[in-house]
C-alpha cells in the first residue's frame, strides 16, 4: 500500500469518526463545529482525488456558509439537544 493511499484511508476513517462525534454530542454548537471539521476533511479528500474545483466549493460552502446558517438557527432555538 503506497503512502498516498494510506493517508487517504486514514482521512476517510477520521471523517467517519468526526461524523459519529457530531451525531453523539449533546451540545449542538459543538456538533456544528465538529461538522465543519468533517467538511474540511472531505475537502482534503476531494483534493487528493484530483478534483480541486469540488474541493474549493466543499470548503467554502461546508465550513463557511453552512456553519453560519446552523449557528443562526441554534441561536434562535435551543442549544441543548
Amino acid at each position: 500500500m503506497s503512502l498516498e493511499l494510506l493517508i487517504q484511508n486514514a482521512l476517510l476513517v477520521f471523517l467517519f469518526v468526526l461524523c459519529l462525534i457530531a451525531i453523539e454530542l449533546k451540545d449542538l454548537l459543538y456538533s456544528v463545529i465538529v461538522l465543519a471539521g468533517a467538511s474540511i476533511t472531505l475537502a482534503v479528500i476531494f483534493f487528493m482525488l484530483q478534483a480541486p474545483d469540488i474541493a474549493i466549493t466543499q470548503a467554502a460552502v461546508g465550513a463557511g456558509v453552512m456553519t453560519v446558517l446552523f449557528v443562526i438557527a441554534i441561536s434562535r432555538t435551543r442549544r441543548q439537544e
Binding site: 480541486p52 474545483d53 474541493a55 474549493i56 466549493t57 467554502a60 460552502v61 463557511g64 456558509v65 453560519v68 446558517l69 443562526i72 438557527a73 441561536s75 434562535r76
Partner: protein, 144 residues
C-alpha cells in the same frame, strides 16, 4: 443579533479585505484556474457575513441593506440573461459566444465566460446575504 467582543471585531476587520480579495480572485480567474462563479461568490458572501456577525446586525444593515442585496442579485441575474440573449441575437443558440476568444491562458480571453462568471458571482454573493437576512428576520417575526 448583537455584536461580539473586541477581539472578534478586530480579527474580522483585519481579515475581511483578504477574504474578499480571495473571492474576487476566484471569480475573475474562473476560466483559468479551478473555481468559478459559485465558489467565489460563496467566499465573498462568507466574508461579508463574518463582518455582520462580528459587528451586529443593526450596524451592518446601515452599510449593506436588504434593498442593496436584492438589487445586486437582480443585476447578476439580468447580466446572465442579457449575455444569453446576445447569443440568440448574434449567434445561434442561448449563451453562444459572440466575443473574440483571445489567446489561451491570459486574463482577457475565453469570450463571454469571464462576464458570465462575474454575473454568477454577483448573484450568488447577494443571494446568500439575502438568505442570511431572511433567516434572521423570519425567526425574529416568529418570536413576536
Amino acid at each position: 443579533m448583537a455584536g461580539m467582543t473586541v477581539i472578534v471585531r478586530t480579527i474580522a476587520r483585519l481579515l475581511f479585505p483578504f477574504t474578499f480579495l480571495f473571492g474576487a480572485y476566484i471569480v475573475l480567474h474562473g476560466h483559468l484556474t479551478p473555481g468559478g462563479g459559485f465558489p467565489g461568490g460563496v467566499i465573498i458572501a462568507a466574508s461579508v457575513v463574518m463582518l455582520f456577525l462580528a459587528y451586529g446586525i443593526e450596524r451592518a444593515q446601515k452599510r449593506v441593506g436588504f434593498l442593496h442585496a436584492e438589487v445586486l442579485e437582480s443585476v447578476g441575474g439580468l447580466a446572465i440573461v442579457v449575455l444569453g440573449l446576445f447569443g440568440i441575437l448574434l449567434g445561434i443558440t442561448f449563451l453562444q459566444n459572440v466575443f473574440p476568444l483571445g489567446t489561451l491562458g491570459q486574463l482577457f480571453s475565453a469570450g463571454n465566460l469571464p462576464l458570465l462568471y462575474l454575473g454568477v458571482g454577483t448573484k450568488v454573493a447577494a443571494g446568500l446575504i439575502l438568505i442570511f437576512y431572511a433567516m434572521l428576520f423570519a425567526f425574529r417575526g416568529g418570536e413576536e
